[in-house]
């Protein structure tokens, strides 16, 4: 084991130097850097109501000494009201627990607080459904308690419960959380929780005695680790105590949002911005920004001129790129459907797996054996299952025409219902409604491996001549395909699960890979509408291809600009690449 004493001494020396640091001679350590200028805070337009855009002019000392800028926001201003409300709820709980309290006093306290509880439960602050419900329940219980004259034992118990429920119902404010953090840190320090497990492991129940009185019996390396951990806890408690002291007496409590550095384009422009996120749209905020120099000295703050509240708009602008792409792709699908309806012929390449469907059904008919169709193991909310059911309707129509038995075990009840409808309609459209047997489409189990165990057993016993696997599959894909191979069935698989495609390709006769599976319905029906949608998909691929090529070229140019030491060009290229990555592609 490594010896840790040198490390302890180094750590102690580092700590001493931090605590006792004095500025070097000749450096004006107290001189603060120039502050940023003209901080403007505005609500982000067209958003969900949780962002504020900040913009400020860079400090005049930017070029020389400024390391980064620190952005602060006020804790929500309504915290003061919230704290007062919490205090009153806590006071009411204490009153309930006092057995000697005169009833008139308790009644007065409840009557005074009830309207505020209801107002809070109805307010936008009580956004959590559970809290709203509990607070309203508590208010109702207290009201009934008052109406029952405060004598009824049942209502007394319920009212007692109501007050304790209120304690849960009211969420902690941010300020409360900070105070709790300080208390917890102190508590941890006092309990030495980081120390106890190590010593207990070594010495059992005698650990405390040894820690307090016989420290020399503790192995050196353990002592070093304990010291390191105790140091961490002490430093943490000190830091939190300093924060608390700094905040006391402050009219507004501040919270650090971020520490951010300007990039090259910001420096050239002389100003920079930052979008503060995750704000509460029911609260006002003040913002301030300070400049920190290389010595860690903080400038005077630039404070925004007024409070600002994030407002939610009808349209979420962050989804603009998504909207454009959605309209382009959907628009192209609709356009080509209309083109197809106009009678223009559309060419679709041959897909071997779909051309073999006829062959598979015919083979089953000749051999007098059944067809097995598995529509995946997911539910109807999965688009692959829907695609599987559409293929099922085509296959079952063929089976009806050929008078072959088709069996469809399902792993979900809703899929069973949908499959029955689809197969029944197919038999009807093939003119064989009498041949339809709904018991051939049945539910097995939701459990993945239970389902495949059933399928395996059924395949080995009944030996279907043709097996179709069309839908979402996971690990059971290889089990199914290998079992089907062992019984000599012709197997056609289609799935959009890239991880399972290799197993199907290796073991099945034909496999529809990804997109081909979704094209199956269009291909089998031959309807112009559906073939048109395939063309529309191709437009989507073209768009993606163009974006990929442009993005790759820009990213390559960015790498070249960085290597060639052209920072301005690199900054512009990086901005475009980041836009494509974070806006267009997200």
């Amino acid at each position: 084991m490594r010896r840790r004493e040198p490390f302890i001494f180094l750590l102690g020396a580092a700590l001493l130097s931090v605590v006792c640091a004095r500025p070097a001679a000749g450096q004006a350590a107290d001189e603060k850097p120039a502050p940023p200028a003209n901080l403007i805070a505005q609500d982000r337009p067209w958003d969900k109501g949780e962002k504020i855009d900040l913009r400020w002019g860079l400090s005049p000392d930017e070029a020389e000494t400024i390391a980064f800028y620190r952005v602060y926001r006020s804790l929500t201003i309504k915290d003061a009201e919230q704290i007062a409300f919490e205090d009153r709820v806590e006071a009411l709980v204490d009153l309930f627990e006092d057995p000697d309290l005169p009833p008139e006093e308790l009644k007065a306290a409840i009557e005074a607080l009830l309207p505020d509880i209801r107002a809070w439960a109805d307010s936008a602050h009580a956004a959590h459904y559970e809290y709203k419900h509990q607070a309203r329940w508590a208010a109702n219980a207290l009201e009934k308690y008052l109406a029952a004259g405060m004598h009824d034992r049942q209502w007394n118990r319920r009212a007692g419960k109501a007050t304790s429920v209120l304690e849960y119902a009211i969420p902690f404010s941010e300020r409360q959380r900070q105070d709790d953090d300080l208390e917890n840190a102190a508590e941890r320090m006092a309990k030495m929780r980081l120390t106890e497990p190590i010593l207990r492991d070594l010495f059992g129940e005698r650990w405390k005695e040894i820690w307090e009185e016989r420290a020399d019996e503790i192995p050196t390396e353990v002592r070093a680790r304990l010291y390191e951990r105790r140091l961490e806890a002490e430093l943490e408690a000190e830091k939190l105590a300093r924060q608390q002291a700094a905040m006391k007496g402050d009219a507004v409590r501040w919270k650090i949002v971020v520490e951010v550095e300007p990039d090259l384009l910001d420096i050239r422009a002389g100003e920079m911005g930052y979008a503060v996120e995750r704000l509460d749209r029911f609260s006002d905020y003040i913002f301030k920004v300070t400049a920190i120099d290389e010595n860690g000295v903080e400038s005077e703050p630039a404070v925004a001129a007024s409070h600002v509240q994030p407002v939610r708009q009808v349209y979420d602008g962050s989804r603009f790129a998504l909207m454009v792409i959605t309209l382009l792709i959907c628009g192209s699908v609709v356009f080509f459907i209309r083109v197809a309806r106009s009678g223009r012929p559309l060419n679709v390449r041959k897909i071997a797996g779909l051309s073999a469907v006829d062959e598979a059904v015919g083979r089953a008919t000749e051999m007098g054996r059944s067809i097995l169709f598995v529509a995946g193991i997911q539910d109807m909310n999965d688009i692959q299952t829907i695609a599987g059911i559409t293929v099922l309707s085509r296959v079952s129509k063929l089976a009806a025409e050929y008078d072959a038995k088709i069996e469809v075990p399902t792993a979900r009840s809703l899929v069973m219902t949908a499959a029955r409808e689809a197969v029944q309609a197919s038999y009807l459209s093939a003119g064989r409604p009498d041949a339809f047997n709904q018991d051939n489409i049945y539910y097995v189990t939701d459990e993945q491996f239970g389902f495949v165990a059933y399928l395996q057993g059924m395949m080995v016993r009944e030996k279907p001549a043709a097996c179709f696997y069309m839908g979402t599959f996971f690990a059971e894909s290889l089990i199914l395909a290998e079992t089907g191979n062992s019984i000599g069935a012709i197997q056609i698989a289609g799935t959009a699960m890239p991880a399972q495609l290799p197993f199907f390709v290796a073991a099945c006769d034909y496999t529809l890979i990804g997109e081909e599976f979704f094209a199956a319905s269009a291909y089998l029906s031959g309807e112009p509408d559906q073939l048109g949608s395939l063309k529309g998909q191709d437009v989507g691929k073209l768009i993606v291809g163009i974006i990929v090529v442009i993005g790759v070229l820009l990213a390559t140019a960015l790498s070249i600009a960085i290597l060639a030491n052209r920072p301005v060009a690199a900054a512009y290229l990086e901005a475009i690449v980041e836009f494509i990555r974070k806006v267009v592609l997200t």
Binding site: S413, S429, A506, S533, Q537
Partner: protein, 234 residues
């Protein structure tokens, strides 16, 4: 009417949820719709359970081939259902000692836990373990060097198979891990293949799949493809 109303519901529901994504007021509607689906699926379980009972009871009464398996299925199904729903053998929770059903149905040592631990877990693990055997038989039967692409595939397979074990480290262990040829060490070649070639291929397939999903969904919403409802025409 039987097909018009579902088509109408599909179209309205689908397009409203698409539009809901773009407004801050309605972005949670998608989750609400997902919860509705969960409720429907839970109710549909009754259908499935009823169908299961019906099929297997019929097999038993007809003494069809394999009817003994149906007995086992029904006994296991009913026993697990009753023990789980009834919380048989489960102690009340510590916070609510006077409430009989307050304990967790998954309590360690309870009958439901025993079924899970000593029946369900070994059976599912066994089924999953069978994959190893099937992979081996598939490898022997199907991995043939029929053409150039197949040869490339086989070579890559050998590299990955060796690179994911200590054998890869041993075979190219003579190459300096920090030297210029360290990229040729099998474990590094494996990572390069996975990160570069495999990722590129997967991305292409995933893009195609995503477009296929978009197109299929649009066809369903527009009512162009109604075969999932039953029938293909009209």
């Amino acid at each position: 009417m039987k097909r018009t109303i579902p088509l109408f519901i599909t179209a309205i529901g689908g397009f409203v949820l698409i539009a809901a994504v773009f407004s801050g007021y309605t972005q949670s509607w998608g989750e609400v719709a997902a919860i509705w689906f969960d409720v429907l699926a839970a109710i549909a379980f009754l259908l499935g359970g009823g169908n299961l009972m019906k099929i297997h009871l019929r097999k038993i009464s007809d003494r069809a081939a394999g009817w003994a398996y149906s007995v086992v299925t029904l006994v296991a199904f009913l026993a697990t259902l009753i023990i789980g729903l009834g919380k048989i053998g489960v102690n009340p929770a510590e916070q609510f000692p006077d409430k009989v059903f307050s304990g967790s149905y998954r309590e360690v040592g309870g009958p439901f836990w025993l079924i899970y631990e000593y029946a369900f877990k070994p059976l599912t693990a066994t089924m999953f373990a069978m994959l190893a055997f099937y992979v081996a038989s598939a490898a022997f039967r199907a991995f043939r060097a029929k053409n150039f692409e197949a040869i490339l595939l086989l070579g890559t397979a050998f590299i990955i198979l060796l690179g994911r074990t200590y054998a890869g480290v041993w075979v190219t262990g003579f190459l300096d891990p920090d030297g210029p040829l360290s990229g040729l060490r099998l474990e590094n070649v494996t990572v390069t293949i996975m990160k570069v070639f495999n990722t590129a291929g997967n991305r292409a397939i995933m893009i195609g799949i995503a477009l296929g999903i978009a197109s299929t969904s649009l066809k369903v919403l527009l009512g162009v493809d109604r075969s999932y409802l039953g029938g293909g025409e009209g």
